[in-house]
Symmetry: C2
Amino acid sequence: MTLYMIGLGLGDEKDITVRGLDLVQQADMVFLEAYTSILGIEKERLEAFYDKTITIADRGLVENDAESLILEPAKSQKVAFLVVGDPVCATTHTDLMLRAKQLSIKVEMVHNASIMGAAGACGLQLYNFGHTVSIPFWDDKWKPTSFYEKVKYNRQGGMHTLCLLDIKVKEPDFDAMMKGRQKFLPPRYMSVQIAAQQLLEVEDAILQQRAYDGRKTLCIGLARMGQPTQKIVAGTLQELSKADLGGPLHSLIICGECHELELEVVKEFLVEGSTHQLDNNTKLESLPPSDQER
Amino acid sequence: MTLYMIGLGLGDEKDITVRGLDLVQQADMVFLEAYTSILGIEKERLEAFYDKTITIADRGLVENDAESLILEPAKSQKVAFLVVGDPVCATTHTDLMLRAKQLSIKVEMVHNASIMGAAGACGLQLYNFGHTVSIPFWDDKWKPTSFYEKVKYNRQGGMHTLCLLDIKVKEPDFDAMMKGRQKFLPPRYMSVQIAAQQLLEVEDAILQQRAYDGRKTLCIGLARMGQPTQKIVAGTLQELSKADLGGPLHSLIICGECHELELEVVKEFLVEGSTHQLDNNTKLESLPPSDQER
């Protein structure tokens, strides 16, 4: 019948829209996508609010079993697929939507706030953002830096960069598996602190193309946006690499050129003891002359 | 006491969040911002749904009388300021928030979907958008083209550009005013058709720097996003300059480099008779060699 892809917004059970709530309550089955983001509350609170049973859809379920568990029932029933934020924000959901349409299942979308919109609460204008990048967890052997070129291009054009920070949910525990047990590692969410440390390392030790300056470029750490405990902290990467923003989810913005009105809002979020001058030429200070002239 | 800045989302009265609805219903005064965007429904339907009287806040009220009409009451009462889309999406609202904070009024924000998020419903990934631009109405004497450079920079970096189209609400009627009457022109909303025509003129007759190609570059027209009559139409600018997408609001996307998954969704929106090949190298086809090499 219909697959409803419903955005839950960012905070708790009350951030769903009235339309979304109506549809969840009419649905025959309810899934909650739980591996590209997290809400500030547990599934049980959502279940109580909707008066519905919710099935958690982890990566395995969506990528391997969506056909039988979600799409097959959606041919004859109303299936609600709940997504933290907005349903058009992640590639996975586009894929699910396409597969539904191929099976002639009607797809209806209910939009909501996402981190890409809520990031504007720090005072930076959403118009001025470029490419959004993802920063993955590093380990000793694997230190991908593919986001760096995009940050550089954004900043050369005066644009801000929203960095989405890695989430590791339901990662297999290989040690346990070698002993024949199926076990998963506890979930990990990258903090602003870790992201800032990795960004400093890319710039200072690995690529060194002055896409940004760890001691000068204005950056903004975001934690639990849209939730009552939301925290916003502004400063240099060096300052943010020591800041503690508390529990997940975190995101980080690397500023481009800032307008006065933007800085007016950002200044109240400066981390204690910050030495940042909040000058509005953060675009150029860290770029070599050849880049400035382009 | 508190100024609540509450996003209404994009469609009708049911697109407010449950949290937002609770706050509106508890508010002592309710304003609706009505000059940077519009909902698909009339104020009266909102009033009936909230069981509240709503004061329309036009540009004059917000820019000249916010102090006395909105902020002064907010010192001792709960004032809800409703915004179509999300409250962090327009500079005007940032300004109001700052003025409230200067008067030590608590400001609370309720996020919601905005056009910048809902634009993802056409299949383009929100990660791949650069600078958002505004396209103003032209007249015989005044043809501003400041958006052009940003579109060019976005496309050179492979990014899509969301173009917000001009809205003229409560523009003074100078003819009537010269006769001593205060009168306003009927509201005007730029259509995808007009925007495409202006974009063709900038490229073909005014700036000619091949930021895009009116016969080749993939573009997507969006109308009434998030509403039941939502319409999405893809094609070249030449094709869109003849397309009729119906009533407001419209927006337009000029695509950068498209990934296969994006094109997979976009192809179902191709305008009838479109000659677009949906090749995924729309980034480069229109750029001169020197730009490609950079």
